[in-house]
């Protein structure tokens, strides 16, 4: 468990420095832990689990600049996952669906679940709803794997507009996920 956390933390720190491969491994391992963590709390709402896993991953990604290297990774991830969970319950007004009391300090990294069900909500479709200046930078740099410079050439946007488009687009995507949850 401790070793898990250490490995994930090292991968995240590399990811924050721009190492996409390590960051990919981090998100992948994190998603399995989140799935197990959320499954135990969403017993009453099994359909929501994969949506919330995606929601939380997107939140972790867009807030990754708020991780402090001196802080335990568990505390950071757990605070974000709890926030997303409470958000869901608030919109559902269904606190009875809660399996465990939320203030119980359960380790996010204690369990693992790689068995991803299909999310009910299709992030790909939500992506189509974004305006071009956000959608195209995401499609080019994040789905087709172009560099920022290449995406700028392909869209006729400036490089900084591409970067801003990706950043704002992912935030907008998170907002759309919330609305459609």
């Amino acid at each position: 468990m401790k070793a898990n956390e250490e490995r994930l933390r090292a991968q995240l720190l590399l990811g924050l420095a721009g190492d996409a491969e390590a960051y990919h491994l981090f998100l992948k391992a994190l998603s399995a832990h989140l799935r197990a963590f959320l499954r135990r709390r969403l017993g009453g709402l099994p359909d929501e689990i994969e949506d919330l896993v995606q929601d939380t991953l997107l939140a972790v990604h867009s807030q990754r600049h708020t991780y402090r290297p001196e802080q335990p990774l568990t505390a950071w991830v757990q605070a974000i996952a709890r926030y997303k969970l409470i958000d869901l319950f608030r919109s559902r007004a269904g606190r009875e669906a809660l399996h465990d009391p939320l203030d119980e300090e359960l380790d996010v990294f204690a369990h693992c679940d790689t068995d991803a069900a299909d999310a009910r909500r299709d992030v790909g479709k939500l992506l189509q709803q974004l305006p071009d200046h956000q959608r195209l930078p995401i499609v080019h740099t994040k789905l087709e794997g172009l560099s920022v410079a290449e995406a700028a050439r392909a869209t006729g946007m400036s490089e900084s507009a591409v970067k801003v488009g990706v950043h704002r687009g992912l935030k907008a995507l998170a907002a759309l996920m919330k609305v459609s949850a």
């Binding site: 600049h65 974000i80 790909g124 920022v148």
Partner: protein, 213 residues
């Protein structure tokens, strides 16, 4: 989209993150907010014409130290509450120290004074407007702190809102002190205290609405 595809999408071409991003956002935001408060003070109230003479009195610096020490703790609280999962530690308890210090000083001043002087020590010349003026001068800082927090990730929204209010009002009180003629500890305890408490209450009330992400 499957979760694995989402993960691949997020990881592809991921840019390095500036570790100083949060600190820079605090610097920019607070700089702009305090500047706004100063401009508001100069246009609505003006500086205290006796500022140079008053600045020679030790109690003038005591008057600044009271909101300044609270502001330092409020900054720590606002930073911690803007980052998910960072414990608050002893910072909330530390807020009591400056309040206790000014309270003891106020009691001592009142005890020393003859009974007929005591109302004047408590009410000064500006008690009717002081608290609301501090709250008003704080507004630009309050907006700035909300902007700072919107770019970070507060997860305890009511606490974060209150901390935003406290940071704004303590800095606002510091700026307002450049206009305010009052200098007696009993006055500062009550009216600066009330002025700094208003934005805290507003922040706690609005935090859950304004800071959601």
């Amino acid at each position: 989209m499957k979760t694995d595809d989402l993960i691949a999408m997020l990881a592809t071409g991921v840019a390095p993150v500036d570790p100083q991003l949060a600190a820079k956002r605090f610097r920019t935001g607070l700089g702009a907010g305090v500047l706004g408060a100063l401009l508001l003070l100069l246009s609505l109230y003006g500086l205290n014409p006796q500022l140079q003479e008053v600045a020679r009195l030790p109690m003038f610096w005591g008057k600044l130290a009271y909101p300044a020490s609270l502001a330092a703790i409020a900054l720590l609280l606002a930073q911690r509450l803007s980052h998910p999962g960072v414990p608050l530690g002893r910072a909330p308890a530390a807020l009591l120290l400056p309040i206790l210090a000014i309270a003891l000083l106020a009691i001592w001043v009142l005890a020393q004074a003859a009974a007929p002087q005591r109302p004047a020590l408590l009410l000064g010349q500006t008690w009717k407007t002081c608290a609301l003026s501090i709250a008003l001068v704080s507004t630009p800082v309050f907006v700035a702190v909300l902007w700072i927090m919107k770019g970070l990730a507060p997860t305890r929204l009511r606490h974060a809102g209150a901390a935003a209010g406290l940071l704004a009002s303590t800095l606002g009180a510091l700026v307002y002190a450049l206009h305010c003629p009052e200098i007696e500890a009993p006055f500062l305890l009550v009216w600066y205290g009330a002025g700094m408490a208003i934005p805290v209450a507003v922040g706690a009330l609005l935090g859950p609405k304004l800071l959601r992400w």
